[in-house]
């Protein structure tokens, strides 16, 4: 498809090396693609989601004829070109008005997809609250029992987590937690709730996506009191088509790196007791030994203190009190 490039200078070499697979990956770059026709709603949704995803977002401003459920080659091409591993395609057709497709890639190939329709959209402009700053990580809140049981919602949760918060970080500045994305599934219709956990595809409940900004208030304790203020965007989504991941590809995508020796010592893998790595990077161990019995301590041997074989009985008769006095002499 694309030619394999051999870097000719150091700069392009660095750029290519940055694209190579890493053990700890960069956050996913999302490409926002417009379909043949996008209405006002889809445009607004894409714009707001992009504002939340920035700086890991690329916008395709031109219209494209893409039907990823039929042919995903365009996604694969764009993924290679832009080093992106996620797509958000928005288009509006008569059959599927206000349509969003979230697609995820693995190794330049399409992994899985989920199509949602936007039933209702309220922009961030409608709310008074402050907007999140780009690059700030959101907190995520998922509420429904279906996120644990229903395959469609498990997939949706995984996709949305990857979209909003896919990057694993080591430390975080707690005062920088500014906004929450809350995803709630509407309760099941009563006639379905009694039947089973897995409703039919056509009757899947609506998903509410809400953005709130967080206010941390003093509570008199270490943990502050949380207040949420609606920030937007607020979306009501209905699930449409989807494409689950190919099991082989999924297995390959879920492969984890082996734990580093250092991590094992830190206790991330197998627990290792009494070992720690100090600030200098040295491995320090702690040895526990039983309490020392000072009664058996060998002191200086002197001729005068030597016990004769016959003497033993008489000494034992003297009892415990006699011993320390003898010791004292010896010392």
């Amino acid at each position: 498809m694309l030619r394999v490039v051999k870097p000719k200078n150091a700069r392009s070499k660095r750029a290519l090396e940055a694209r190579e697979p890493k053990e700890v990956e960069d956050p996913r770059t999302v490409v926002f693609v417009r379909g043949t026709h996008t209405g006002e709603v889809v445009n607004g949704v894409m714009k707001e989601l992009m504002a939340l995803k920035r700086p890991h977002a690329i916008s395709f401003s031109k219209k494209n004829i893409v039907r990823p459920f039929e042919d995903a080659t365009s996604f694969e091409f764009w993924a290679h070109k832009n080093d992106a591993s996620m797509f958000l395609l928005g288009q509006s057709t008569k059959k599927r008005p206000n349509d969003l497709i979230i697609a995820r890639m693995f190794d330049g190939k399409l992994l899985d997809m989920c199509e949602v329709g936007v039933d209702q959209f309220v922009s961030m402009n409608e709310f008074e609250s402050s907007r999140p700053r780009p690059g700030y990580k959101p907190m995520l809140h998922f509420a429904s029992e279906l996120f644990d049981t229903h395959p469609r919602f498990i997939q949706l949760k995984s996709l949305l987590m990857d979209f909003f918060n896919g990057e694993a970080i080591e430390t975080i500045y707690l005062a920088g937690l500014e906004h929450v994305i809350s995803i709630t599934v509407a309760p099941l219709p009563e006639n379905l709730a009694s039947v089973s956990d897995a409703p039919v595809d056509g009757h899947l409940p609506i998903v509410h996506v809400r953005g709130y900004s967080v206010k941390l208030l003093a509570s008199g304790q270490r943990v502050p009191r949380v207040e949420l203020v609606p920030m937007g965007p607020s979306l009501d989504l209905s699930l449409r088509r989807h494409q689950p991941a190919d099991p082989e590809l999924w297995k390959a995508a879920m492969r984890r790196p082996k734990l580093k020796k250092q991590d094992v010592e830190k206790g991330l893998g197998k627990k290792r007791k009494n070992l720690e790595v100090d600030e200098m990077g040295d491995l320090r161990g702690r040895v526990h030994i039983a309490k020392q019995d000072l009664g058996k301590l060998q002191t200086r041997k002197m001729k005068g203190l030597r016990r004769e074989p016959g003497e033993e009985e008489s000494e034992s008769d003297e009892g415990v009190s006699a011993r320390p006095t003898k010791r004292k002499k010896a010392v």
């Binding site: 998922f142 918060n165 975080i172 707690l174 509407a186 943990v223 991941a245 390959a252």
Partner: protein
């Protein structure tokens, strides 16, 4: 007295806000800053006051998430405390496969086998004369010291045109060239290794040295061919030291007694072959070549005419009738070429 009551009530109120009670405790994944609340949505409050309900459930869960975040160990920094997050419990798929380990160089493999720990060589070395750190190689490098010095030692038995500076330079260039060659060899070795790995992966044999044994066999075959490719077909070659006598392929026979099952399958395979037109699958399909019939006309004509073609055959029949030979003539065996024998009517040659 009143004050203490107020304080107590306030504290309890704060506590009630901070402590969230739910039927199923929400699942907190601090590594991804995610909280999952698996409680069933209350349909009544959802229907009546949807937005307030959504916000209140979100608030409760976020409160839980934040209390778990604030209980994490912190690192201090000029900007403020940073919470150290645990590794995430949720597993998300990777965007790219895990990086492949770099192939070891020849030296690295040797060092590993011998248990040698390589020390990292500094790029700079200490120059006693200049009292400074200078680069080991490159611009103003230490390795050019010998050729750049103003006075050279010349051995007593040196030639008249002996140039020590040039000698040192040549030696240095040779070292660089050797290093480059070794680097390329390492690259090639690494690539070959990876190729065998993938080849074995494809075939599924799981044998590490599949490619290497194949290559060894190929070399042996080439050597055997060259040894018999002299004018005397290898008979009068000067024997090289350590050269073994060429051995042909030993014929192997199947055991006479076989199980009924194998015998049956072998016979069936043979019968199947007989029934099929084997040449039908040939790429070079000529006129009259099989044509889906059992008789190969082209071959039959060639056979009957002794390789002279259909015209000679027609000529033959006419001459045969002319000379009145009605098949009584003697038949002579005629050898031709590579041990093939053809039966031909003698008339054509005798007259």
């Amino acid at each position: 007295m009143d004050v203490s009551d107020i304080l107590a009530s306030q504290a309890s109120k704060n506590k009630s806000i901070l402590v969230v009670e739910k039927d199923i405790p929400p699942d907190v994944d601090a590594g991804f800053l995610t909280v999952t609340d698996l409680n069933v949505i209350d349909k009544e409050s959802y229907d009546h006051e949807r937005e307030t309900y959504l916000q209140s459930t979100a608030r409760d869960s976020v409160q839980l998430l934040l209390s778990s975040l604030f209980s994490l160990p912190t690192l201090s920094s000029p900007e403020g405390p940073f919470a150290q997050l645990p590794t995430p419990t949720t597993q998300l798929p990777r965007a790219k496969p895990l990086p492949k380990p770099k192939p070891l160089t020849k030296w690295e493999r040797f060092a590993r086998a011998k248990g040698i720990h390589s020390q990292k060589r500094d790029k700079k070395v200490w120059d006693e004369e200049r009292q400074a750190w200078v680069p080991r190689w490159g611009w103003k490098g230490k390795n050019k010291e010998e050729e750049a010095q103003w006075l050279h030692e010349v051995p007593a038995n040196a030639d008249a045109d002996y140039d020590p500076a040039k000698d040192a330079r040549v030696a240095r260039k040779a070292r660089a060239k050797q290093n480059e060659r070794q680097h390329l060899q390492n690259l090639a070795r690494g690539a070959r290794h990876q190729l065998t790995a993938t080849a074995n992966y494809v075939v599924g044999t799981g044998v590490g040295a599949g490619m290497q044994t194949e290559r060894k066999k190929e070399i042996d075959r080439t050597l055997a061919t060259t040894r018999v490719s002299t004018a005397s077909m290898g008979k009068f070659n000067r024997a090289l030291e350590g050269e073994k006598k060429l051995r042909g392929v030993k014929r192997k026979f199947d055991p006479i007694e076989r199980s009924v099952e194998t015998e049956k399958s072998a016979s069936l395979a043979l019968i199947k072959k007989l029934g099929n037109d084997v040449r039908g699958s040939s790429k070079f399909k000529k006129d009259g070549d099989g044509d889906g019939k059992v008789l190969n006309v082209r071959k039959a004509v060639r056979f009957a005419s002794g390789g002279r073609g259909a015209v000679s055959l027609a000529l033959k029949t006419t001459t045969a009738t002319q000379y009145g030979s009605d098949g009584k003539g003697k038949r002579k065996m005629q050898g031709k070429g590579n041990g093939r024998l053809r039966w031909l009517p003698t008339e054509l040659y005798t007259h």
